[in-house]
């Protein structure tokens, strides 16, 4: 068996940055964050609206790792996002352009969280994370690619997305957690339109609402000599949003990683009992 980064026995949160400089910067940022804490929603002075602490870090493969495939349209392999943002708005800690009633709902959810009584969440019940949230997961994604289908095998809770190339959903295709994804190529960019997503999850961990009218458009392309995939995610939901918005993420080429068996259902201490999360 070849040597792989085993990750055995440690929390798979964020891989170390590749250079000492970025590591120092990341640690400095952490220290600052620890002192000041994350901001409150929309810069409010109300401490009951404090957001989760998000991180944006680099997540390069170790020196000497195998080179990425030189074909700009070949995404096969294991990729790992840099950082984790709990609120998926148009920027770090920026709120999505929600309609007023959904701003109220977001505030309610953030307050519940800060009171230690978070709303029961789909992922805490071992249901899929939903779109677009699954793409933010800080776990590796293995991409398997054939001309007809690009398959995303997420390590986290074995979430699975099939992106069918140039194939619309059958008329009776059911609404699901991760929806139906139809992809096409624009040059070297894979464009993925996803619809038929259920509204049993929120857009992000903080509780940004979505409806079954949600449509995500993802534009994936290899950058940095193929060592990263850039994703521009555009989110449109005429029910909950005033207007569509976009954000950008990077997934790092990680040939040193082999996805692990991830079993959410095993002793799931986050699972709600009688509608209340009882994690200890």
């Amino acid at each position: 068996m070849p040597k792989f980064n085993s990750r055995r026995g440690r929390l798979p949160v964020i891989a170390p940055a590749s250079t000492a400089l970025t590591l120092i910067l990341a640690l400095a940022g952490q220290t600052q964050a620890a002192q000041q804490g994350p901001p409150n929603l929309n810069g409010s002075s109300d401490p009951t609206l404090q957001l989760y602490a998000s991180r944006v870090v680099e997540n390069w493969a170790p020196e000497g790792s195998a080179a990425p495939n030189p074909d700009p349209r070949n995404f096969e392999g294991v990729w790992w996002i840099g950082g984790y943002q709990y609120m998926l708005g148009p920027g770090l800690y920026a709120m999505a352009p929600l309609k007023p009633e959904y701003v109220d709902l977001l505030q309610k959810r953030i307050r519940q969280k800060n009171e230690g009584k978070p709303e029961a969440d789909a992922a805490s019940q071992c249901f899929p994370h939903g779109m677009p949230r699954i793409m933010e997961s800080p776990y590796p994604i293995e991409i398997v690619q054939t001309p007809e289908q690009v398959t995303f095998l997420h390590e986290v809770a074995h979430n699975l997305r099939r992106i069918y190339i140039n194939k619309s959903a059958p008329a009776d295709w059911p609404i699901s957690w991760l929806g139906w994804s139809n992809g096409h190529w624009e040059g070297d960019t894979l464009v993925v339109e996803t619809t038929r997503i259920n509204a049993r999850t929120t857009i992000d961990d903080e509780g940004t609402s979505k409806s079954t009218s949600l449509r995500t458009t993802e534009r994936y392309r290899k950058v940095d000599g193929g060592k990263r995939i850039e994703l521009v995610m555009t989110i449109d939901d005429p029910v909950t949003l005033e207007k569509p918005y976009s954000y950008t993420r990077y997934y790092y080429w990680r040939p040193d990683i082999r996805p692990m068996e991830y079993v959410c259902e095993e002793n799931n201490r986050n699972a709600p009992v009688d509608g209340v999360t009882v994690a200890r």
Binding site: C126, F127, Q149, T151, H158, P174, M260, E265, A271
Partner: protein
């Protein structure tokens, strides 16, 4: 040696070593579902499963619980944990094979469970134990030969409650029959903790062209996924 062979040899010599590995002789890719599902894995050619004394006692206990309607021994059924091997390959639901040069992926409709068979590698000597084990494979002619070990205790070999220990090793061979419309799997079960000798069983799968696998979430079938000691 004719001229085209010489030309091919020169071409190959110019390529990096990794590019020369022979292409797989057949393509198992596609969506498949088991033919003639049975909850009980039966030995090839008939006869009894060669359980040893401990294996028989464990199997009898499971069957007795099942007869009482108590499936606490079956965490795949009651808690959506992965079913282990070969049970995962015996479920009465379709699965997709995506065959690539270095890995053959089995992606099951059941709870979206993935399985990876890494080609051209040896089994790890000190694997982290997993429900579905660790699988490596190689092509022998038109047959994909898979070996798996590193199984956690607690899974079952089939839907009837056939048990195993962590000493379990599962061999599988896959080949196409019937002009590529049928996939045949032959399982070799080896577990000195449960059986008096290794034994084999056969399953066949029907190709399902055009079938689209829906998103299936096992936890939605459960009342709660909370640990038993926290359930009220």
């Amino acid at each position: 040696m004719n001229r085209s062979v010489v030309a091919a040899a020169i071409l190959l010599a110019a390529l990096p070593v990794a590019a020369i590995s022979a292409p797989a002789p057949v393509n198992l890719s596609g969506i498949w579902s088991i033919k003639g599902y049975s909850p009980t894995l039966k030995p090839e050619g008939g006869g009894e499963v060669p359980l040893n004394r401990k294996g028989k006692a464990a199997y009898d206990k499971n069957k007795a619980m099942a007869a009482e309607g108590d499936f606490e021994f079956d965490e795949f059924k009651v808690a959506c944990l992965p079913p282990g091997l070969p049970r995962l390959m015996l479920i009465d639901k379709p699965f997709e094979i995506i065959q690539r040069d270095k890995t053959v992926f089995f992606v099951h409709q059941e709870n979206r469970l993935p399985r990876r068979v890494y080609l051209g590698e040896a089994l790890p000597t000190d694997p982290e134990l997993m429900y579905d084990g660790y699988s490596v494979g190689q092509w022998e002619g038109d047959t994909l030969k898979v070996q798996s070990s590193g199984f956690r205790a607690g899974t079952l070999l089939d839907d009837s409650g056939l048990p195993h220990t962590t000493a379990l090793k599962v061999g599988e061979t896959y080949r196409l029959l019937d002009g590529g419309n049928t996939l045949e799997a032959r399982f070799t079960i080896e577990d000195a903790g449960t059986f008096s000798k290794p034994w084999t069983a056969v399953a066949q799968y029907q190709k399902r062209p055009g079938y689209l696998i829906p998103e299936e979430v096992c936890a939605e079938r459960l009342k709660t996924t909370a640990p038993r000691n926290l359930q009220r």
